[in-house]
């Protein structure tokens, strides 16, 4: 007779605190948080990591990670991360930013951090909307998309076009790893985790600025169900924000993670 034991296939990452998050049900901020925590656990970085939380729905990110954290002014996380990394170059420093934070008010900070090749990792949550302030138009809002400040749908003639940050940051000479992934289903979440791993690997190897853009849901402000929000990412967002590797430093190629 064969006896059996219980093997743990998955459990809550160690880098998480025992705190219930304030995110709405089905919001993928939580998934992104979890993937970061898993990667940091796997790489054994928890005790040397310093996170930089943004202003946005993830303003309280520091409550959920069991690691040192600061909370930056709106959009300034890359500047704060620069300030920290330059005085603590041996530490792992990452920012976590939404699309309003990174691609609107913090556009200068993110571009120049990339241009300087700051050896930091940026996790960029693109949910095409301003979540925290109640669903206004973001720089990533899709053409025609209704928000509380584009109630008739985003008119690109009047309000401009969505900004594709991964593409923009990839052309900066200082960036070492720039990709876009999505969090709308298990297969894509797996790929997202791998990308986050590679971004932190890039930092550990001193390859310069690394950024993972994650297409994310905001069922509450999109005013649709959780299930529909995942479909929205797949059907509506990915065509505007194509997934892919926009820049991968040759030193990362072939790295098995």
């Amino acid at each position: 007779m064969v006896s059996t034991t219980a093997e743990v296939v998955y459990q809550r990452p160690e880098s998480f605190t025992d705190v219930h998050t304030h995110y709405c049900p089905g919001c993928t901020h939580g998934i992104a948080h979890r993937l970061i925590a898993e990667v940091i656990d796997e790489m054994g970085l928890r005790e040397k990591t310093i996170g930089v939380a943004p202003v946005g729905c993830s303003v309280f990110a520091y409550k959920y990670f069991k690691m040192d954290f600061v909370e930056a002014p709106h959009g300034r996380a890359p500047a704060m991360a620069t300030g920290i990394k330059r005085v603590l170059p041996e530490n792992t420093v990452f920012t976590y930013q939404g699309d309003g934070d990174l691609a609107s008010i913090g556009m200068a900070e993110i571009m120049h951090a990339a241009a300087r090749g700051e050896n930091i990792t940026v996790i960029f949550i693109n949910n095409a909307i301003y979540g925290m302030t109640g669903g206004q138009m973001a720089p990533t809002t899709l053409p025609g998309m209704k928000t509380t400040s584009s109630p008739f749908g985003r008119d690109v003639e009047l309000t401009g076009h969505p900004i594709r940050m991964a593409e923009i940051l990839a052309i900066m000479d200082g960036s070492g790893y720039i990709v876009r992934r999505s969090l709308h289903n298990a297969a894509n979440i797996r790929k997202s985790k791998k990308a986050i791993r590679l971004a932190f690997e890039a930092q550990e190897r001193g390859l310069g600025f690394s950024m993972v853009e994650l297409l994310s849901s905001c069922p509450t402000n999109w005013k649709i169900s959780v299930r529909d929000s995942m479909e929205f990412i797949a059907d509506k967002m990915i065509p505007v924000f194509p997934l892919g590797d926009y820049k991968v430093s040759p030193s990362l190629e072939g790295l098995k993670v």
């Binding site: 928890r46 005790e47 040397k48 990591t49 310093i50 930089v52 939380a53 303003v59 309280f60 520091y62 409550k63 990670f65 069991k66 690691m67 040192d68 954290f69 600061v70 909370e71 930056a72 002014p73 300034r76 500047a79 704060m80 991360a81 620069t82 300030g83 920290i84 330059r86 005085v87 603590l88 530490n91 792992t92 200068a108 900070e109 571009m111 120049h112 300087r116």
Partner: protein, 374 residues
């Protein structure tokens, strides 16, 4: 060490280096750019952090980051740049981390000009950024005093986990003056227990200025206020000149105070008993000393390179006990000793009751002088 002939901005920057600054982040602006340039040439070879940021907004947030990491961090800028930094300054104050900001003030508002001014008094002393907080403000008047102020600024910033402003004007930034630099200080290996350095073998540290519950924010505001009361008790600095028997009290800070002291010397030669109170800490203001002096002097003349900003603070303290008069130059104009001497003479002869707003009498006098100078 012997005295050397030092240029203001260079001397201040070297003083910061010797005081152990580990990170300087800045953005070019006249008349403070030499500060940044000097740092760019010195810090990298010392293995310390230097970044020319993309803006003052970014520079102050880099300072914020390094301060959170428990390092001595600073920036230097000038008025328009300081305006941009106010967001970060407020966050630094709200997070209760130490940082030093040097403002080499220039004429304003707006783009103004690059000439020396004291027009940022309100912005620097009253907070400038949003929310309830109390910056410490040092206003040295000589290169040597500024050198000493920089190290003091770091010490105070760390002692009170506070933002400390050192404000000078373009005169001082550009001035060549004999001064002595302190010896190079060894960088402290001590890491403050609140700093973010990686949670190795301890509970994680978080540094934030958000207190979502008003109850918590109020407790924080109260903590900052009580700390400020301690600072007011312990850290007041000022210089006195010829005050023992003074009947006319001149009050001025920075360059205006320095020019006033020359005028006072001349006034004394003409037999006028004038003396100077020059606050070195504008915040906290030498309030107690001023109250004492109101019992001694007959009249007060406030001299500034702005429209009478410190004047308001003086009036608040003097409470009408003694008539207060005002003389200011604005827009980047520096008063000459002769101008202040004229004012001292006029004030000494004036037996009038003094007006509710000394500016009312000053405006036509200034207009007359401007016409005369044309």
């Amino acid at each position: 060490m012997a005295k050397e002939l030092l240029k203001g901005n260079h001397a201040f920057a070297e003083a910061a280096i010797r005081a152990g600054v580990e990170a300087f982040y800045g953005y070019p602006i006249t008349p403070s750019s030499e500060f940044l340039e000097y740092m760019s040439s010195r810090l990298p070879s010392l293995g310390r952090a230097f970044v020319q940021a993309e803006s003052e907004v970014s520079a102050i947030n880099m300072v914020y980051g390094a301060a959170c990491a428990g390092k001595r961090a600073m920036t230097a800028s000038s008025s328009p740049g300081i305006s941009l930094m106010m967001e970060g300054i407020s966050y630094i104050a709200g997070t209760e981390v130490p940082a030093v900001v040097v403002n080499v003030m220039r004429g304003g508002p707006g783009l103004g000009n690059i000439a020396p001014s004291q027009g940022d008094y309100y912005q620097m002393i009253k907070g400038g950024g949003h929310g309830d907080y109390f910056p410490i403000v040092l206003a040295p008047a000589r290169v040597q005093e500024a050198i000493d102020s920089i190290e003091l600024a770091f010490d105070l910033a760390e002692k009170y986990r506070s933002i400390v402003h050192v404000i000078v004007d373009g005169n001082m930034g550009q001035m060549m003056e004999p001064a002595e630099l302190p010896p190079m200080k060894e960088i402290s290996k001590e890491v403050p227990d609140w700093a973010v350095t990686g949670a190795k073998g301890r509970e994680p540290n978080t540094l934030t200025s958000i207190y979502l519950a008003p109850e918590d924010e109020e407790v924080t505001n109260l903590r900052l206020l009580k700390r400020w009361k301690e600072i007011e008790k312990n850290e007041v600095l000022y210089q006195e000149y010829q005050l023992d028997d003074a009947e006319i009290l001149v009050i001025g800070f920075g360059t205006a105070g320095r020019v006033a002291s020359s005028a006072i010397r001349e006034a004394r030669e003409e037999g006028i008993k004038a003396g100077l109170l020059r606050p070195i800490t504008l915040a906290p203001f030498p309030q107690e000393r001023l109250i004492e002096l109101t019992k001694q002097v007959r009249r007060i003349l406030v001299v500034e390179m702005n429209s009478g900003m410190m004047l308001d603070d003086v009036m608040k303290i003097v409470k009408g006990q003694v008539p207060v008069e005002f003389y200011g130059r604005m827009g980047g104009m520096t008063p000459l000793p002769d101008e202040i001497l004229d004012e001292i003479k006029r004030v000494a002869a004036n037996k009038g009751p003094g007006s509710d707003d000394p500016r009312d009498e000053w405006i036509p006098r200034l207009e007359g002088r401007i016409l005369g100078e044309k």
